[in-house]
Symmetry: C2
Subunit: 375 residues, 2 copies
């Protein structure tokens, strides 16, 4: 599977123009593009350009409504509930976190829960919006069910990522992770390369541990049973119930407080129904915000400087790898999988855009078999 | 290792009298006893009577100050910071959650961070205080460092449990779990029974995976290196960085916002320095609290009723096992490890109490070797 490399600016122009072509306003196209690009800049390939096909298909089939505007349906000085009206998740997410930030600035905390939305990109983008304003940011989303609860054999919970970000020097603490062991994108990568899955990732249709990537993916797509294990695996001895519990915490902030669809109901027919949760907390409401920031910075440094395991080179703190990734991508460009490029070309054709205008003439190696996505 | 069985009321009387003997007021003794008993009622043996020896020793050496009163040192309508002044963790925790609940009732959310405290028992007790009032409860605590960060070989983070509880029918959602794979108590149980540890729990002094319980515990006590893995193990492939990240989220709510001691500084010399975090969120600030409760209840039922893995009997939702445990303990009494009973007898002697008054004449089998605790 080959990779192409493009300049950040080329991808940015392509996305901006594409979303305008889909019918979004300039401002909306800017938000959606920013979320996608941040993911690729962070090195999270699964949520960057790779997601364009999903947006293309869900817009085309009417699951994502281009002219929908997210609407505040309930509000207090520190909380809000937003109905995304089946629009793009990034637009609901951006509006929700803006509201949470405003509330946190004046009241100390803002919590916003969103229903009837769609895929919103990386959770970390919204946590970063708060962190950029000096606040602690929290963001989570449910998704199509992929996590099998402990002792189960049917996916009932989403990958349900939760991101928490907090200002620190020389870079913030940014923890952004699915509550499953891995996301489906990782299974797809192993499948494409023909390798068996690592132990402790996935379950077959009967609920037994499996390392057979094609079989697991086939069953997930057909909803035959099986799926991905919670963080901690599929047995309580290694904490399966803990990953399952964190998935549920995400669900509470996203689908429960908003009275939206729980993951087991999302993405059926032409309804997305995805729900998100956002929180911003103002450290100044606990004392001296600068002192709190220094206190965290010191601990993060102590962690990085602590003794390494024999054979390990360094200890990372959360958010550090992303800092290096951004510097690298801005300097050297963003790697795009050839299959992703094919999807982008397909989308350009659908929108009547000339993709060569953005990326020049591109040579592709032979196509790989891919599993169909079920949207 | 033998077990004894005692009635809940006998243990309750013993604890109440013991804490009064230590010098706590009747009301304080009631709070401490309630926290301990709830743990044993829930079936969490590690945090019930088994902890009495820790309280005995930390009070005796002056780490826990009996006459300390937790003090609000910073406050806004939705936040507070409490200095526990080196008192019992349960007293600071109870006061902090009471304040968080009051704020959540009037303002929608209450967040309280506590510094300079000591061991506070199970995190779930405080989350339950909020849930009993119809609120979502969140509680976390740092502890003496026991979690080794990904790629490290020295424990730098506590077991850092986080509890989240939310009203539901027929029983609430209660997720209460350390952010390590397991807690030290589990290692001690394996050690006592002479069994090797399960794979994926612990690290030796060089940071390599180890199943040698006596060696791991020896190194933990001597602070030679090694400790317990984060939830997800010690390698990123199975999500080690995720458990490590959750441990850090606990640290932010507990030690960072309160400007208290991070886990790597706690429990050194005669200073406990433990920090806690509490949050109460009022569902009525998101709409119809009863409808939200029903919505969660329905999802929990769908999870319990979903297809089981081949060979599995049932799927639990979080908090369900505790409901069965309470009914059993109230009916059949609480099991107490013989070594724990020996520690209770030792404490009774220290306090000049006649332990037979509470439990009658008890026959003990031969003593087992135990690893010393390092307080």
């Amino acid at each position: 599977m080959g990779y192409l490399k493009f300049k950040v600016e080329a991808l940015e122009s392509f996305c901006l123009d594409a979303f305008v072509k889909f019918g979004f306003t300039d401002e909306e196209s800017r938000i959606i593009t920013d979320v996608l690009l941040l993911s690729d800049l962070y090195g999270i390939e699964s949520h960057g350009m790779q997601r364009l096909v999903r947006y293309h298909k869900t817009i085309a089939k009417g699951m994502v409504k281009v002219d929908a505007k997210p609407e505040v349906v309930f509000e207090t000085p520190i909380t809000a509930v937003i109905d995304a009206n089946d629009g793009m998740g990034q637009l609901a997410g951006h509006k929700a976190m803006k509201i949470a930030i405003e509330k946190a600035k004046t009241a100390g905390v803002g919590i916003v829960s969103v229903r009837n939305s769609n895929h919103y990109g990386i959770a970390g983008y919204y946590a970063k919006m708060a962190c950029d304003e000096g606040l602690m940011g929290f963001s989570c989303t449910n998704s199509e069910a992929i996590m099998v609860p402990t002792n189960g054999r049917l996916a009932m919970i989403g990958s349900n990522p939760i991101a928490v970000m907090m200002p620190a020097e020389p870079y913030p603490f940014l923890f952004d992770a699915s509550t499953t062991v891995v996301t489906r994108g990782k299974l797809e990568m192993y499948n494409k390369s023909g390798k068996p899955l690592p132990e402790g990732w996935a379950l077959d249709k009967d609920g037994h541990a499996s390392t057979d990537a094609p079989d697991v993916l086939k069953n997930i797509v057909a909803k035959n049973g099986g799926g991905i294990m919670p963080l901690g695996g599929n047995e309580e001895v290694n904490g399966s119930h803990k990953g399952y519990g964190w998935g549920m915490v995400c669900e509470i902030f996203a689908s429960i407080l908003s009275m939206g669809m729980t993951s087991n109901k999302c993405m059926q027919g032409t309804k997305g129904g995805i729900c998100h949760g956002f929180m911003a907390i103002n450290p100044a409401f606990f004392g001296d915000a600068e002192a709190i920031k220094s206190h965290l910075s010191k601990y993060l440094e102590e962690l990085r400087e602590s003794p390494k395991a024999e054979g390990a080179e360094r200890i990372y703190t959360h958010g550090e790898k992303e800092i290096y990734a951004i510097a690298d991508r801005k300097e050297n460009g963003i790697s795009v999988n050839e299959n992703t490029y094919r999807e982008m070309a397909d989308m350009a054709q659908y929108l009547g855009m000339d993709i060569e205008k953005y990326f020049g003439k591109v040579e592709l190696s032979e196509s790989n078999t891919m599993f169909g996505n079920n949207y």
